[in-house]
């Protein structure tokens, strides 16, 4: 384990907030983000988040009605949720301390 402090980019923050504790697929995240996420970047960001351990993914069991490739569903990990909560808490404290 390296001593590097984990960080969250703006897009990663949005994704973790949207995921909460449910499973979503990429296009769903794009739609629900209201323009904060783009379809060209969402899977690249999700891939990097998976490498960092913020989210996990699984292939959806394909329903015969849909046809084609199965969707990939993403879910935040406990580590990702904890990181989001800690950053949100730190932000609140900073806001209280430095609010004018």
């Amino acid at each position: 384990m390296s001593g590097r402090v984990p960080t969250l980019s703006g897009k990663e923050h949005v994704i973790l907030e949207l995921l909460g504790s449910r499973e979503m697929y990429g296009l769903e995240l794009v739609t629900e983000s209201g323009g904060a996420l783009k379809r060209g970047t969402v899977y690249v960001t999700l891939g990097r988040m998976e490498e960092k351990g913020y989210v996990t993914s699984r292939a959806e069991e394909a329903s015969p009605a849909q046809g084609g490739l199965p969707r990939r569903l993403y879910q935040s990990t406990p580590y990702g949720r904890e990181l989001l909560a800690m950053l949100a808490s730190a932000r609140r404290r900073l806001a209280l301390r430095f609010a004018r």
Binding site: V44, L46, A59, L69, R71, R72
Partner: protein
Amino acid sequence: MSGPGSWLRAFAVLLFRPPTIERLIDPIISDLQIEYNATLGGSWRRRGVLLRAYCGFWKALAIHTVLSVGGGSAERNEFRRAIAFSCLACAIGTVLLALPPLVNGTRLPTGKTHQLMLALTLIPQALPISIPVGVCIGIMSAGCGRTLTRRHLLNTLMIGFTAACVVWVVLEWGVPLGNQTFRDIVIAEVTDGRVGHIEPGLNELGFSGLARRKDVAAVRHYHLLWALSFAAIPLAMFTLAAGARLRHPVSRGSVILLMLFAYYVLLWVSHSSLRHGAPILVIWAPNVVFLTAGLMLVWRQWAVHTGAPRIGV
């Protein structure tokens, strides 16, 4: 697999590793197919969905490739080192090539402003030579005695292609502008301002200017400029293959010198042979020879070290 986007997936499978296909390509194609199938309405509406999805696919691919450029940490370090050494060698080469004419230029009775202008006009002339030379030195310095992978090949092609694009831009705009400015300054000084402008010759024309002319000399010069633009790619390929086999700095330096000497002599010979009736494509001979030799050497390296990984982006 069939359906919309299947050809995109087939293309991606050729280039990317299975984890990339599974985590990046397949989810995008899956979204595309589901969205396409779920779209009700006319064919134009469905085409709109496809177009948006295709744009997203290429954007994702471009971002992923840029983020993972260089490959693994060792290959990435080599890639960065190759770029850094190439830039340094290019800068030194440009100064060395521009210096002698500049020293001669100071003998002209010009003012300091004009001497500065003359110095600036010499830089574009030096770049078409110094950039390929710098790329070769950079690639040779970055790695030696290593096992070549497809990532090395891809990185080298990227450096070579970028250098070729830069040289093309310099030959199209930089060299004609620099040469013409140089001539105008010198002619104005020599004639005490009586002649302020002279008509551009072949060396003062870029690709677009030469393409408009139909005389034989212009056609030859046009093809020479194209061959010069692409010089960085075959030279980089050859350097990659040769550099992987050599460990000693003296032997690497000697190979670079010999290679560059052979390339530019061959270019000069093929350009001269055009005057004696040789077909115009002869001007491409140095590029073809060095690219073929480089690819053959890379192929031999791969044959020795079988099981080279995929590109891996």
